[in-house]
Symmetry: C2
Subunit: 291 residues, 2 copies
């Protein structure tokens, strides 16, 4: 049986380490502002979770809720105020934003040094330039941390990333190709336009699935002994559940588990890492502002 990579436990370990780190900060504590526009239920739930973990670690958090009808210009004006507030170390704009806004324009208005989500164009450029002073988006950063803490060798291996999104696929691949120990991999980006995706995925020593299609990766697409990181979180109907649905990843876990050497479950794999990395970024932002 493969190693099941326990994202819940690993994120718990990180949160404990960060709690100790913050307890040693004597003169002040890190402060993060969460900005939520509207009442999207998933966003409400995500932001609640982030606030809860902040409190647990000793990070001060503030929730700024804005009406869904706010204009992009007004939202950016609010963000600029937070940029200028020396008490605020980190700013997170919860996505998705209302459809009348252009998300990248909003994200790019967050000061790069407070951009704990790593979505600002300057932080994306720093990631590409291998400049460690920037902030890396939390999900790809969480993938790296999982590989590291699971002692998975990355150097020289062939990583295949299925999906080329700006917030997961691309940054994950860029992190894994860069010159560093949890890096130096050969990286292939596959996506919806890739021909013969199965034969390419099957070459992967480490396969990262971030395509957003339930159970897309089946046993024919996975090499024996591969490590599989499943970033997908998809709702599929399930009459046996009270909610009427269950969560599944982009990987058909049942079908591939007997073939692989290690795999992340969904839920409980990459998911919990995202909040932990957000907290890590917030403490980094605090340290940058106190240098």
């Amino acid at each position: 049986m493969p190693d099941i990579i326990d994202g819940n436990q690993i994120s718990k370990d990180i949160i404990e380490e960060l709690t100790i780190e913050v307890s040693k900060l004597l003169d002040s504590k890190p402060k993060v502002v969460f900005v939520r526009v509207g009442e999207d239920p998933a966003s409400v739930s995500y932001v609640n979770k982030k606030q809860k973990v902040s409190a647990q670690i000793g990070i001060e958090s503030v929730l700024l809720v804005l009406d869904v009808s706010i204009s992009q210009q007004e939202l950016i004006a609010q963000i600029r105020k937070l940029n200028e507030d020396p008490e605020v170390n980190g700013i997170l704009i919860q996505s998705p934003l209302p459809s009348h806004m252009i998300e990248t324009e909003v994200f790019n208005s967050v000061a790069p040094e407070k951009d704990v989500d790593g979505f600002n164009v300057v932080n994306v450029g720093k990631l590409c330039q291998e400049d460690e002073s920037g902030f890396v988006a939390c999900t790809p950063a969480g993938i790296i941390e999982l590989l590291k803490r699971q002692n998975i060798v990355v150097e020289g291996k062939h990583v295949v990333v299925v999906g080329r999104s700006l917030i997961v696929g691309k940054p994950a691949g860029l992190l894994l190709v860069k010159k560093s120990k949890i890096g130096n991999a050969t990286v292939t980006f596959c996506h919806s336009r890739t021909q013969e995706i199965a034969s390419i995925a099957k070459q992967a020593d480490i396969l990262i699935a971030a395509i957003g299609k339930p159970n897309f990766i089946d046993a024919t697409m996975v090499k024996k002994g591969a490590v599989v990181i499943d970033v997908g979180i998809n709702r599929v109907e399930d009459g046996s559940k009270k909610s009427g649905f269950r969560l599944v990843g982009d990987v058909d876990f049942e079908a591939v588990q007997s073939k692989v050497s290690a795999i992340t479950p969904v839920p409980g794999g990459v998911g919990p890492m995202t909040v932990a990395m957000l907290m890590k970024n917030t403490i980094k932002a605090y340290r940058l502002s106190h240098k």
Copy 2:
């Protein structure tokens, strides 16, 4: 025999098109400033070539030569003056810079909207985010233009990039994976740490060699019918030449030419495209500032 991709002719065509475009600008002409620090002979020669082509197109160019002993701080102060000068549309800092400087810091001091070399972190981030308003580094932009004008189908093809440099390999791969017609490729990044590089390179429908090792790519590494783009410019000793050396690419041209469907020669392939794309970026900067 394969198609020999004639970079000299293609760049000449582009320069002619740009000359017509600039001739139609009636109220003013684009202006670019070349900054050269020291007297490195290759830099002198490159900047001369860039000035000559600027003049040919009708772009005004100014050469600012600074002493090799100038501090990084003083250089950045000079760049800031150019950033603020409304008459200046484009700024190019000729590399390599003296060893007492950190090149990325200098490049990042050029205003993103005048960064015709595409090295500023904001432009690197925009490339990654697929934001067309940015400037793309001239060599990777030249590769895309060669593929486009040679009518080579890129969508859905497997591109293997050998080399992960910040100014060629990475941006070339990012351009080819992005959602666009000369894009949508499956992209693999190989490099010095890649295991079994030959078997991966041999899968390429389009192979981009940017590793800086003379004749590194031999016939065993190339698939029959592949398109080969050779970015390397390496000096190798040659007693039969007056100069004592000749230029060769990263690809063993003689060995692979009978196998491939199309290939760029060295010299006369990618090389001449770089200056043409610099001119194109300068005109883009001019248009952005006149919007």
